[in-house]
Amino acid sequence: MSPDVLYRESFAVEGNDFEHGGNVATAIKATLRELGIASGAIRRLSIANFEAEMNVIMYARRAEFVFTITPELISVVVADEGPGIPDIDWAMQEGHSTATPEMRERGFGAGLGLPNIRKNSDEFAIESIVGSGTTLRYAVRLDQGA
């Protein structure tokens, strides 16, 4: 662990596990509250985490969430094993989705997940290999007050 890492934790998320969809986002939120992180940063990161978690449940087989706090940033890496995204530019546009009716019944799958994650983060990167998986990296800066 590099010297400026204040905290790091990882979580496993299983694909299709709708029953627990949201548990990782709320667990990370509880940790950030205990650590005294500003509420505005917690809210933005939690929104991004929840969308990322639902994306894994809806589309991937499994994923690992790693979140890391440094003095400047809370960063999250979500590396999934899944089908990958053939056209990232297409998937990043609002309303573009390959969701099924079951996903929509859960209140997701409207093609807003990735745009919502980007909107709520200060750093955002996505890499995907079709047939292998997608890795999402996003971070919220801690220097913006509440």
Partner: protein
């Protein structure tokens, strides 16, 4: 909050002890949780027809202090228990989404969004 309970003739499903002295910043209505995450503002009461666990998670991460289920819908026990643990009161109204929103709007509760 008393206003909300009366206007929508709400039944309190859980968390009645958390309603005292509670003043919402406004209201937000959606069945799409991505819309809740994108557009609701902290402190808004959520009106929704979605009774799954994801409604409670969405309210929790977006800092929405209470949920009103429309159309007389009621969540399952595990959803109610999750909301109790998170400190989010759950209410139910028999009005549908359109009429529930209309009643609040008519009573002077304007948008949940910032202008």
């Amino acid at each position: 909050m008393a206003d909300l309970l009366e206007l929508l003739r709400c039944e309190v499903i859980s968390g009645s002890n958390q309603l005292d002295g509670f003043e919402p910043t406004g209201f937000f209505a959606a069945d799409l949780m991505s819309d809740v995450l994108a557009f609701a503002h902290p402190g808004n009461v959520l009106l929704t027809g979605l009774t799954s666990l994801q409604a409670v998670h969405a309210a929790d991460v977006a800092e929405l202090p209470a949920i009103v289920f429309v159309d007389g819908k009621r969540p399952k026990d595990d959803v109610r228990e999750k909301a109790e643990r998170r400190g989010i009161p759950l209410l139910a109204t028999r009005f549908d989404m359109f009429e529930a929103c209309g009643r609040l709007y008519e009573a002077g509760h304007v948008a949940g969004r910032k202008p």
